[in-house]
Point group: C2
Chain length 127, copies 2
């Protein structure tokens, strides 16, 4: 039976928890995670570098977010590093009618025992 290294899955899940913990409590704090070399495609809009990315996310037209995670898939990359694909439901400003399915993809590069976020993609999956 083939399986992913449990350490890869552990790092991936920990990253996801950490990222959304910050996103859903204080988006400006994402400067902890985004790097100078990170690129983000947010709903088709391409942004490069922590400053542009965090500015964009902070200025999104809602105040409060909560979410339910449906799946977290992790794989090792050749970089070396870890890719993570997350699907879930985003709840905006506490309104039950604003339940939006989303997918987010993270590409982390291994860097001296820690991981840097290099690529990030976010898309709503609408009906």
């Amino acid at each position: 039976m083939q399986s992913v290294d449990p350490q890869v899955v552990g790092v991936g899940k920990q990253f996801v928890e950490h990222y959304y913990g910050i996103f859903d409590s204080n988006r400006a704090g994402l400067t902890q995670i985004y790097q100078q070399q990170t690129t983000l495609t947010w709903e088709g809009k391409f942004l490069s570098g922590a400053d542009a990315i965090v500015k964009h996310i902070v200025e999104l037209p809602f105040q409060q977010t909560n979410r339910k995670i449906n799946s977290i898939d992790c794989q090792q990359t050749y970089q070396p590093g870890i890719m993570i694909t997350v699907t879930g439901t985003l709840i905006i400003d506490g309104e039950a009618k604003n339940q939006l399915k989303f997918v987010q993809v993270f590409n982390l590069a291994s860097n001296n025992g820690s991981f840097l976020l290099i690529n990030d993609f976010f898309r709503l999956v609408l009906d």
Copy 2:
């Protein structure tokens, strides 16, 4: 204004068209695309290597697939290579009621002027 290198977008879109062209006409032909070193997470199931991957895809319990692509987002990676996130709707066995939202993520590594598929993730995004 920040943007992705048009060549990266071109390669990404061409790959997606090529991949689904094969998937939706003759799944066994995906041996053209999957490599010994490819890993796929299909609906949470991890598979490694072209043989295991193509066998799994060929044996999926449906005959015919069509799809509508809603978005293709491409980014350059440090590997170097290209990451692609696709969202769309899959129609199974021509039944209008079997319209399933999906997301698929491809990580391609640049290799002497061509690209190898290294990581692949597929998830349905269900209501």
